[in-house]
Symmetry: C2
């Protein structure tokens, strides 16, 4: 299995020789079991997995390496899928621990809904696993709008960035030891009781503090850019004018804004403000919104004429600041269900006859 | 004296009714003494200052309210000058305490050279004064290049920003109590021994941490922008490629970079890198450099042709990134001597015959 590559769509074959891939492959192979499928006439003894080759094809509907946890999703999917293929019986907690060795936050992406990554106590990290706090149905009013600010590859990978922060930021340890544990408890409570105000305040404050620690790193790491700052300012002004949070924002290791609204109404209001400030560059409204496009009609935005007729948000002082082209596109989504096995042949990326990625 | 306004150049008369001005005026008036100048035929008893009016004219060769300590310079100058006019005998420490009531950092600007702002222990702040660590001659090799990134008024004033940080940033107190006192000691040592490596590392790390705390404020404060980040990246890459700091950077409450080189050679090398990345927009090289223009010839940049012929710095990966127009202009300067009395009539802003600002 060490010879295989991953095809990203049909575009690119990449090597799996890197340590992060090899860690995951080794660990999941250690859990491999006998596979028997009488209907398909398949029988593989677990000892034989060593000798077999596997074709892996991967497709991402999120921008890759832009700080939107594409590697987390990818590694979770890889570990989950190989686990299914090799009849692995380990539970989700153990799978999350394997995925974590590919990309730290991949341990969370094994689950759907709300997930907590437990730090663990062992030096070898073996008990650093993720647990699900609540599934995606627990708080299904939430609407997520992502502003994809730039899909160019970021300068600092989140893995090396975090290592530099641990080694050089004087503020990181204080944050990790004193501030985060308390916030995690409050966040669990907010999720449990679906308290959006508390959820939003914690989300925004912790996103900002994460980026503060990045800036306190030597050399400093800047994941957010001017467009990210403008989106924060837009949300903060709205939240302040209403007195309570209308929307939460969080930024991972990149400039893209993940905006969380408590309901469709607020998501639609948010979209009006966002499209006032960041109208599409090429006048193609439909391709400017990926995912749940129906949020556009909720916001009354059925054509470019509707976008052009938008009024400046009342809480914004600078009424005519439009930043066309600064956002590549938006994604509208909801809490997801985690990895699942696709059963329809049309959805599969591997051709079941040739065993090769479709289109290769 | 409560009726007077300040003329900024001949452009604008501004009111002095604000609390910050009134604090300074009240305090300095409390120190006023008898003035007698036989040659000019002037005699004012200290009780009479209450009844007299003063015209104040002020001119700033730095951009105002852009986060380059223009208010610090202005208040230090105001307090110093009124002190001279009213024959105030208080020492510089006491003057610094009065200036501080106009703008915190103005207490430092009463002196030249290297100045330390002592926190003090009294609740009323009366012992929060500045002391001079070394005069401007102590380390006169240092060359300062300022990149004026944007002269538009900043959204958050440094005074209100600092108050918000004190009230809402969980990291600020840790920084103030645990990190800063130690850094101040190290910085005093670095200045004393003219240790540029230590000076530069402390300067950059502390600038970044100040901005980290601003980001940890609720709502977050962003003084730096994409251009600031690019300048930091340029310096960090150079410093890393050489193994030791070639230049230090620091950003106050705004996007402008203050870059400190240990000598003219490094300042000239820095300027080459800066002008490669940020060439002047309007092809006027001479007005692109304010202050000591001779640094341009040190850098071999005598014409726009020289700028256009600049090669990409070896340590920069992205060779063709030129950000024309992102820097308004540069200032080249050195450590200053603090406020001084100008004696030549041509330098005065007030007409000695009319008593009015010149040109009004």
């Amino acid at each position: 299995m060490s010879e295989v590559g991953i095809w990203f769509g049909i575009e690119q074959e990449i090597s799996l020789s890197g340590g992060r891939f090899q860690n995951c492959l080794r660990e999941i192979r250690n859990c491999a079991r006998d596979v028997e499928d009488e209907k398909k006439g398949i029988r593989i003894n677990k000892e034989d997995w060593e000798k077999l080759h596997v074709h892996i094809a991967s497709y991402n509907n999120f921008p890759t390496a832009a700080g939107l946890a594409s590697s987390a999703a990818g590694f979770a999917c890889l570990v989950f899928t190989l686990g299914k293929v090799m009849n692995v019986k380990e539970d989700y907690g153990e799978l999350s621990s394997i995925a974590r060795q590919g990309s730290g936050s991949a341990c969370r992406s094994i689950y759907g809904g709300f997930v907590k990554w437990c730090m663990g106590k062992n030096n070898d990290g073996s008990d650093s696993i993720a647990v699900q706090l609540a599934d995606e149905a627990h708080w299904n009013d939430l609407v997520i709008i992502i502003a994809v600010v730039s899909s160019k590859q970021k300068e600092t990978s989140s893995t090396s960035g975090m290592r530099d922060s641990v080694e050089t930021s004087p503020l990181l340890q204080y944050r990790a030891q004193t501030i985060v544990p308390n916030r995690v408890l409050k966040m669990e409570e907010a999720i449990k009781s679906r308290n959006f105000e508390s959820f939003a305040r914690l989300t925004c404050a912790d996103s900002n503090q994460f980026h503060a620690v990045c800036m306190d790193t030597s050399p400093p790491i800047f994941y957010m850019n001017d467009t990210s700052h403008r989106i924060i300012s837009l949300v903060e002004k709205w939240n302040q004018s209403e007195g309570t949070p209308q929307v939460a924002y969080t930024f991972d290791a990149g400039p893209n804004a993940v905006l969380i609204a408590p309901n469709r109404k607020n998501a639609a209001l948010l979209l009006q403000k966002l499209l006032y400030c960041f109208p599409p560059q090429d006048h193609d409204l439909s391709s400017y919104m990926v995912g749940d496009k129906s949020i556009l009609s909720d916001a009354g935005l059925n054509s470019m004429e509707d976008v052009e007729a938008l009024q400046a948000p009342a809480e914004m002082k600078t009424s005519n600041r439009k930043f066309k082209g600064d956002v590549s596109y938006f994604i509208c989504s909801r809490l997801g269900a985690g990895p699942k096995v696709v059963t329809e042949e049309t959805q599969a990326l591997i051709d079941s006859v040739t065993g090769l990625p479709k289109g290769v």
